[in-house]
């Protein structure tokens, strides 16, 4: 059912990673993602994989949840692996049939790419598991605040993101309600060709839009009534403070980067 979709996928907890400043976590996540792409040798990739494993253990997020976040990318993984195996040729030949050859280089590249994607997804989903959507947008707002120089309304963007996240469950509920009402009037949403099905969505989509706009107006009024005027001069109830552990996290990222570069230098590159 539609109601089962979870977005934001926050996993409530009190681990070190949960308590860290969202700015530090955001910065570290982006940093590590860049480092993943810097990896050239298996040893460098091993180091970043080890980092991801340690991070998962530190977060105390159950492994089941981590695997769940990997489920949607299984198809992508298989697809890239297959493509890499067949399109990269070099080294010893393991298997040959007609025009298809599987070589050492192909297998290595496929493995490398798969591990790379998995680590990428694990690290980025760890960010959303340990940080609430509100903290995330707050952190993003603060990190992007230098862009104010270019007249970009960072606060407005962050507020829009927060509100959009907040209203996803509400709108899902609304879609269900409207679908039921139209089904009760005999609307057939399940059968027919593509065009027919697209047409059948009109009775759902229009009321949804109407109600989304109504909600937006109501929300705007409510926010105005509470003296919301945008980001200018706005203070926070929960001040973000960088603690020693946040600085440590960034130093740690720098260490990993150095390690990856050194390992790249001393071992043969796969990619």
């Amino acid at each position: 059912m539609i109601g089962d979709i979870t977005i934001g996928q926050y996993y409530a907890g009190a681990s070190v990673l949960h308590r860290m400043d969202p700015r530090a976590k955001l910065a570290a996540t982006f940093w590590l993602i860049v480092v993943i792409f810097l990896c050239k040798s298996f040893f460098a990739l091993g180091l970043i994989t080890l980092t991801a494993i340690v991070a998962v253990l530190l977060s105390r997020v159950p492994l089941k949840m981590i695997f769940r976040s990997l489920r949607p990318i299984v198809i992508i993984l298989i697809f890239t692996a297959v493509l890499n195996v067949f399109y990269n040729k070099g080294g010893a030949t393991y298997w040959e049939w007609w025009k298809i050859t599987v070589t050492e280089k192909g297998v290595n590249t496929a493995l490398f790419t798969m591990v790379r994607i998995i680590v990428l997804v694990v690290i980025s989903s760890l960010l959303t598991y340990t940080t609430t959507p509100t903290m995330l947008t707050d952190g993003l707002e603060r990190l992007l605040s230098p862009l104010k120089v270019f007249k970009i309304k960072v606060h407005t963007l962050a507020m829009m993101m927060t509100l959009a996240l907040r209203f996803i469950p509400t709108l899902i509920e609304e879609i269900e309600r409207i679908m039921n009402a139209q089904k009760a009037r005999g609307a057939d949403l399940e059968t027919g060709g593509l065009l027919q099905r697209a047409k059948a969505l009109v009775p759902i989509f229009i009321p949804l839009m109407v109600s989304a706009f109504r909600r937006a107006y109501e929300l705007a009024f409510a926010m105005t009534c509470r003296c919301y005027t945008g980001g200018e001069g706005r203070t926070r109830m929960k001040q973000m403070k960088l603690a020693a552990r946040d600085v440590l996290l960034l130093i740690f990222c720098a260490g990993i980067t150095a390690g990856v570069l050194v390992l790249n230098h001393f071992f043969t590159a796969v990619i």
Binding site: R177, I178, N180, A181, Q182, K183, A184, R185, G186, A187, D188, V202, P203, I206, P207, V210, S211
Partner: protein, 287 residues
């Protein structure tokens, strides 16, 4: 003869198979006679809405059966489809389901899905519109240009135009002012008198139910806690209060008057009944 709607051991679990599994409807047996007007009351979360969503097959029972005209609606696809037309379900705030360019087209959506001939659709739309008191001029307007009360009427007409054998209203008067509420109840009463259809009304308003229902069904914690005539149910004030419900204010007033020694009846459930009782008293008793 079979019942209009019959639920046998109807059970519905939410989040089935997980630790949060809850029965929203728990082994409910209910039979609704043809032409009967059933009022269904219950605290928020008592399972009323989940129960009625089974009557036209929007929800599939986890256990048990729903029979419409004596036939299990989940027997096959076509039976299920027909049950949607036999049992009209008008949700809370039905005006949020309006979508067509004109009111006419919106009311015609249901009959159109029934694949009726054009003339029949036209006749039904006009009949339903007249019934809810929408003038022919309004039919050509956009539903989004109507007033709140008119929108509600247009949406109700959209369900009535399918001319279902059973019409179910979920909180039909929610958000209406007292006048609109009264008009709507009068509309439901005359609809039923004219068409002889079976009607089920789900409401929080004990007074609305008292003025309309032949039979009252009280839901509490996913089960039917009580059922009977208005008199039989409303006389059990303490049991109702224990379920987070209350008797109508007017009943409370008459109970207190009675307790203070005034010779008034205590089975007063609507203001109209109250006025009558006081008038009958008028000649005999002076303060």
């Amino acid at each position: 003869m079979s019942y209009a709607i019959e639920a046998i051991g109807l059970t519905h679990y939410y989040a089935k198979g997980t630790q949060q599994q809850v029965a929203a409807v728990d082994h409910v047996d209910l039979a609704v006679e043809r032409g009967e007007l059933v009022g269904m009351i219950g605290h928020t979360g008592s399972g009323k809405s989940t129960l009625i969503s089974h009557f036209n097959g929007l929800l599939k029972p986890s256990e048990g059966k729903v029979l419409v005209d004596g036939v299990d609606i989940w027997r096959d696809k076509e039976t299920l489809r027909q049950s949607r037309f036999k049992v009209g379900l008008c949700f809370q705030y039905p005006e949020y389901q309006l979508f067509e360019e004109t009111v006419y087209k919106d009311i015609a959506f249901g009959p159109g899905n029934m694949k009726l001939p054009k003339e029949e659709i036209d006749a039904r739309v006009r009949r339903a519109a007249e019934f809810v008191g929408l003038t022919p001029a309004l039919l050509e307007k956009s539903p989004f240009d109507l007033s709140g009360g008119e929108k509600r009427r247009a949406a109700i007409a959209g369900v009535m135009s399918m001319e279902p054998e059973v019409l179910i209203f979920d909180e039909p008067a929610a958000g209406l002012d007292p006048r609109g509420r009264k008009d709507l109840m009068a509309l439901i009463r005359s609809y039923r008198a004219e068409t002889g259809s079976t009607v089920i009304i789900v409401s929080h308003s004990m007074e609305d139910i008292a003025s309309l229902a032949d039979r009252v069904v009280v839901m509490n914690q996913a089960k039917i806690a009580m059922q009977g005539t208005v008199d039989e149910v409303y006389s059990q004030g303490d049991a109702l209060r224990a379920m987070g419900l209350n008797v109508p204010d007017i009943t409370e007033i008459f109970a207190r008057l009675h307790a203070q020694g005034l010779p008034v009846p205590t089975n007063i459930y609507t203001v109209a009944d109250g006025v009558r009782a006081l008038q009958a008293l008028g000649g005999r008793w002076r303060a």
